[in-house]
């Protein structure tokens, strides 16, 4: 999936990928897509939950075995 910005969360465990995502998303413009790359399985459930709470759009996941990529679209400031 095409993304406007990428966030490296390899070797980070919950809740750091979420904390970093919340920080990073501020740098994006509304409508842009953020790719979060990590290896903590928890992110598969945590990112949709974070999107549900914040209102940003969860676009999906690409699990490449060891490297999990999740995509979030910024929907508001």
């Amino acid at each position: 999936m095409r993304a406007d910005q990428s966030l490296d969360c390899m070797d980070l465990y919950c809740p750091m990928p979420i904390v970093k995502t919340a920080e990073k998303i501020k740098q994006l413009k509304t409508g842009e897509i953020l790719e979060v790359v990590g290896d903590d399985e928890g992110i598969k459930q945590d990112m949709p939950a974070w999107c549900d709470a914040t209102g940003h759009e969860y676009l999906g996941i690409e699990d490449e075995g060891g490297e999990i990529k999740v995509y979030v679209k910024k929907t508001h400031d």
Binding site: M16, I18, V19, A53, T54
Partner: protein, 162 residues
């Protein structure tokens, strides 16, 4: 978004794993756009007590308590498997290996994210601490009592007692 959702956490325990859980939830809540308040009471005061020592309290009993119960985020122990410090040391080692922030780092992070950090005045007295902000880390935003906690909890979507 409209008015922020609120998360209030009372931290009574001074156990390492409970302190970590409390801060993990606090920073996650802040990341989810929630307004977070943490209220430290009883043993929980040890988490936010100054690490450097030099905290002076009045009266013999308080002085003794203050000396035995040194506190500070770097002296917290696991509630189980402490094994005279070995278990705690191992867990801290594993935390470092997995890039997990320490309690100290979590306190700073939480404050940077706008988490309100409150120390309970009443329990300072029985824990041998002076009910003054300078007994605590600089991240403490205020000293307050039960009414402040309850009023915060009353307005919160989520309230946790750890």
């Amino acid at each position: 978004m409209a008015e922020k959702e609120k998360l209030t956490i009372a931290v009574l325990s001074g156990d390492l794993e409970r302190a970590l859980a409390a801060f993990m939830l606090a920073v996650t809540g802040a990341s989810m756009g929630m307004q977070v308040s943490m209220f430290f009471t009883f043993w929980g005061l040890n988490i936010v007590k100054k690490n450097e020592g030099g905290v002076k309290s009045k009266g013999l009993m308080r002085k003794m308590l203050n000396m035995i119960n040194r506190g500070g985020s770097e002296r917290l122990k696991l509630s189980r498997f402490n094994m005279f410090g070995l278990g705690t040391w191992m867990m801290k080692r594993l935390m470092k290996d997995t890039n997990m922030p320490s309690v100290s780092e979590y306190i700073t992070m939480a404050r940077d994210m706008g988490v309100e950090i409150i120390a309970c005045t009443t329990t300072c007295g029985v824990m041998g601490l002076p009910a003054k902000q300078d007994a605590f880390r600089s991240e403490i935003t205020s000293m307050a009592g039960a009414a402040y906690f309850l009023n915060s909890a009353r307005k919160s979507e989520v309230t946790l007692f750890i």
